[in-house]
């Protein structure tokens, strides 16, 4: 395949609309042609940029496509919507909600739960284990999920609960709401302990109302802690059709509602449509009119819609044959809406920021590191005095063809450490690490909490330079390498997270320099932090010769590295070769890092240029198994 044809097909490959032999041919071409591979990489970057633009998509307003929806009314709604959104939206929505909830209390609640009134439920303790974001979500990135419909299908869960703010819903084929997670919705195991008093003998009903909206109803488990065999769960239900103002209004589109204005006037009419600021009403025998919710004191309905609740509710039918009046229960469930991530700050120390004094030695920076755990609660429920545990390590997201997501079982973790217990205590657990906050904390709904997790002082960071022509054809990347050991001031397992680097400027003021991401890093492993590109090292890579003999190919490239610094540097050059490479030649030491990636180590003296050629041979039919004569593989 030539480059022209490849260029035409790149878009198809990018959009997943290419398959069969063309796809295989194109992939083969991309493995050997740097120019086309570069273009493909830039297409992917542009896509990822577009994906980020659409982040923060707000929820949809309901569509009003009724038979009697006149155009004029809708347009009026639209323009009003814009004008008032900011000023009046919150106030009006809150007012209407308040009115409706009050209304519902009068009409629905007493009849629905009257017979449970004597039952008394008290929360005695709650523990939250929040899982870290699984790697599946990293692979696609938050925003790619929605952009690529094909992938989205795999990440669908038919949620029984109401919709989360972070997800997009659409109606599935069977009319069930299907929830598309546009970003990692968070996942936590909640253990909720309660004391229940006055359970009536015989068949009894118990309701838990403060459960999060994102609860996975099929994960709920109720256990009796005081070990009674005299209490059995007959039935468990999760009810979630919330009587929000919007839900009640939505059930009354095309029905008659009464409106009482703040000035005392009243009106009646058919509700045509509504949005957060406006109602569209058609009084009998008149044309439709829009009414700002600001002017409304109350909306009255002729009768209450069936099956609406004020909050998501777990309902158990119990068979109680015991005598005890007070029973202890534990409910555990999985819920979305709770997530955490690790954020690190690395601050370089001023003295060590100077270049190495001896021209021959590598540069070593000294730095302090602090790691924070940022916990976000968007579950809809406030957990008071909760025992908080954060789980680090990649849990496995099992994807079922039915579009079901389930969790558990794991991959590699690390060894336990003897780190001093600080605010967060770290322990190994199964194959993961668990960070437990040593004191209870309250995590309110819609709260973001930051807790210090790890810290280390005076860490030695060795500066290294890595030139990867596939990543940047003209510059080498600066990489700080650090041993995660106690001797080096750290020696604690580091959960995956974003690392921000601050360095002192010439005036000694700490300045934000770069950021990067680290993967889960066990103790005694080497931490590599890639920062930006080195200013004073100019690099060049070009293919100088290609030879083909049947299925056998030889490619020779020339690499030139120019060091404009005042001291020698060692540059690691990354060469991407096809997996079918069987031989390579280079005057400088090299070794195979992994299949398809060769590292060449080049020393460039101060103010000088180092030039070398690298040639490799590959055979797509019989090649592979490249070995370096320098060992270290």
């Amino acid at each position: 395949m030539n480059c022209e044809r490849a260029g035409e097909l790149l878009i198809d490959l990018l959009y997943g609309e290419l398959d069969g032999p063309s796809r295989a041919d194109l992939l083969k071409h991309l493995a050997t042609c740097r120019c086309c591979a570069d273009e493909y990489a830039s297409l992917r970057r542009a896509r990822s940029a577009l994906g980020r633009l659409a982040a923060g998509e707000p929820p949809m307003r309901p569509l009003a496509l009724g038979e009697g929806t006149p155009r004029a009314a809708r347009v009026a709604v639209a323009s009003r919507f814009r004008r008032w959104r900011l000023v009046a939206g919150v106030a009006a929505a809150a007012l209407i909600l308040g009115v409706l909830v009050a209304l519902l209390h009068h009409h629905v609640i007493p009849t629905a739960i009257a017979r449970d009134m004597p039952v008394e439920i008290k929360r005695t303790g709650v523990s939250l284990t929040i899982l870290s974001r699984p790697p599946e979500w990293d692979r696609f990135g938050d925003d790619d999920l929605l952009a690529n419909q094909g992938l989205v299908q795999h990440f669908v869960r038919q949620l029984p609960g109401p919709v989360q703010p972070t997800v997009q819903t659409a109606m599935g084929a069977a009319g069930n709401p299907v929830t598309y997670f546009s970003r990692w919705p968070g996942l936590a195991l909640v253990r909720d302990q309660r004391i229940i008093r006055h359970i009536r003998p015989g068949e009894a009903e118990v309701r838990f109302t403060d459960v999060p909206a994102g609860i996975w109803a099929d994960s709920v488990r109720l256990r009796c802690l005081d070990g009674g065999q005299d209490l059995a769960v007959l039935e468990q239900n999760y009810q979630f059709d919330l009587a929000s103002a919007e839900a009640v209004l939505a059930k009354h589109v095309d029905q008659t509602v009464g409106i009482r204005f703040k000035d005392g006037q009243e009106a009646r009419g058919t509700l045509l449509s509504f949005d957060p600021n406006t109602l569209v009403i058609r009084p009998a025998g008149e044309g439709p009119r829009t009414i700002a919710r600001q002017q409304i004191a109350a909306v009255t309905f002729e009768k209450l819609p069936q099956g609406l609740l004020t909050t998501p509710t777990l309902v158990w039918q119990l068979a109680n044959s015991g005598q005890a009046d007070e029973r202890q229960f534990e409910v555990d469930y999985l819920t979305t809406g709770l997530s955490w991530r690790a954020d690190y700050v690395v601050k370089l120390r001023p003295a060590a920021n100077a270049e190495a004094s001896d021209a021959k030695s590598a540069i070593v920076d000294h730095a302090d590191l602090v790691g924070y755990a940022t916990v976000v609660n968007k579950s809809g429920v406030t957990y008071e005095d909760a025992q908080l545990k954060l789980m680090a390590g990649d849990v496995n997201l099992l994807i079922r063809p039915s579009g079901y997501l389930l969790v558990w079982n794991g991959i590699e973790g690390g060894k336990d450490s003897n780190g001093e217990p600080e605010q967060m205590e770290e322990k190994s657990f199964f194959e993961y690490h668990l960070y437990t906050l040593t004191r209870p904390t309250t995590i309110a709904n819609n709260e973001t909490k930051q807790l210090e997790m790890v810290s280390g002082q005076g860490l030695a960071l060795r500066r290294a330079y890595v030139y990867d022509p596939g990543e940047n054809p003209t510059a080498a990347r600066v990489v700080s390498e650090m041993e995660n050991t106690e001797a080096n001031g750290l020696g604690k397992p580091l959960p995956k997270g974003v690392v921000r680097l601050y360095a002192p400027d010439p005036e000694g003021v700490q300045t934000y320099v770069a950021q990067t991401e680290i993967d889960h890093t066990p103790v005694k492993e080497k931490l590599r932090l890639p920062w930006g590109h080195a200013f004073d090292i100019a690099c060049q890579w070009r293919e100088v010769n290609t030879r083909h003999a049947g299925d056998d190919h030889q490619i020779t490239a020339e690499c030139s590295l120019r060091n404009h610094k005042a001291h020698d540097v060692t540059v690691t050059v990354i060469v991407h070769v096809p997996p079918s490479t069987y031989a390579a030649e280079c005057a400088l030491p090299w070794h195979v890092r992994e299949v398809g990636v060769v590292e060449v180590t080049a020393v460039v003296p101060a103010g000088r240029e180092t030039k070398f050629t690298f040639s490799h041979r590959f055979n797509n039919l019989s090649g592979g198994g490249l070995r370096s004569p320098y060992g270290k593989e």
């Binding site: 878009i11 990822s48 659409a54 569509l63 809708r74 639209a78 919507f81 976000v376």
Partner: protein, 189 residues
């Protein structure tokens, strides 16, 4: 008023396409999120795209008897939304010479200030890079990337050959990547 006519008098083509009004309505509701994202891709403003969406779908609903089923429902809705956007753009240009067309792109929320700063910068750069594209290239990206149409569907909406839609997408993406070179590291998938 066309809206209040009884169901029986609905145009024949609709029936031929095997669409009854309910099915059409369900189809519109299903397409709505994608159409809104497409409109967002064009105007970069969620509020405005919401309004445009509501108006476009209403237009589609009012003109439902003109849907002949030859094109897919999705293509049809996107075509209407695109036409509505173009009309809206012309009206706006005529109406307010003093008020330039909004190029402000809204961004998602991230609680971390540093992230917000760096993300804000990137978002602004993406918005500017998009604004610099010729409108026919921007349209292709909005339909494909935000609206989630296939390239063939994009071509159908725009009434151009598939090859043209592809090359527009390719040039647009290459140009975006060039403009966004400073953010290269951040955008690496």
């Amino acid at each position: 008023m066309t809206d209040d006519r009884p169901e029986e008098t609905l145009g024949n083509p609709l029936r031929l396409a095997g669409y009854d009004a309910e099915r059409l309505r369900a189809g519109l509701v299903e397409a709505a999120p994608a159409v809104r994202r497409f409109l967002f891709g064009l105007c970069g403003d969620w509020h405005r795209s919401e309004d445009l969406l509501q108006e476009s779908l209403l237009k589609a609903w009012q003109n439902r008897d003109r849907f002949d089923g030859r094109a897919g429902l999705k293509t049809w809705v996107f075509t209407i939304a695109r036409n509505h956007w173009l009309t809206n753009l012309r009206q706006q240009a005529r109406r307010s010479r003093e008020e330039p067309v909004s190029e402000s792109y809204e961004m998602g929320q991230d609680s971390r200030p540093e992230a917000a700063a760096s993300r804000g910068e990137l978002a602004e750069a993406v918005a500017r890079a998009l604004a610099r594209l010729p409108s026919e290239q921007r349209e292709v990206l909005a339909l494909r990337e935000h609206g989630g149409l296939t390239v063939a569907e994009v071509a159908a909406v725009l009434g151009v050959p598939v090859g043209t839609a592809k090359s527009r997408a390719r040039y647009a993406l290459v140009r975006l990547a060039e403009d966004l070179e400073p953010f290269r590291q951040e955008l690496e998938p």
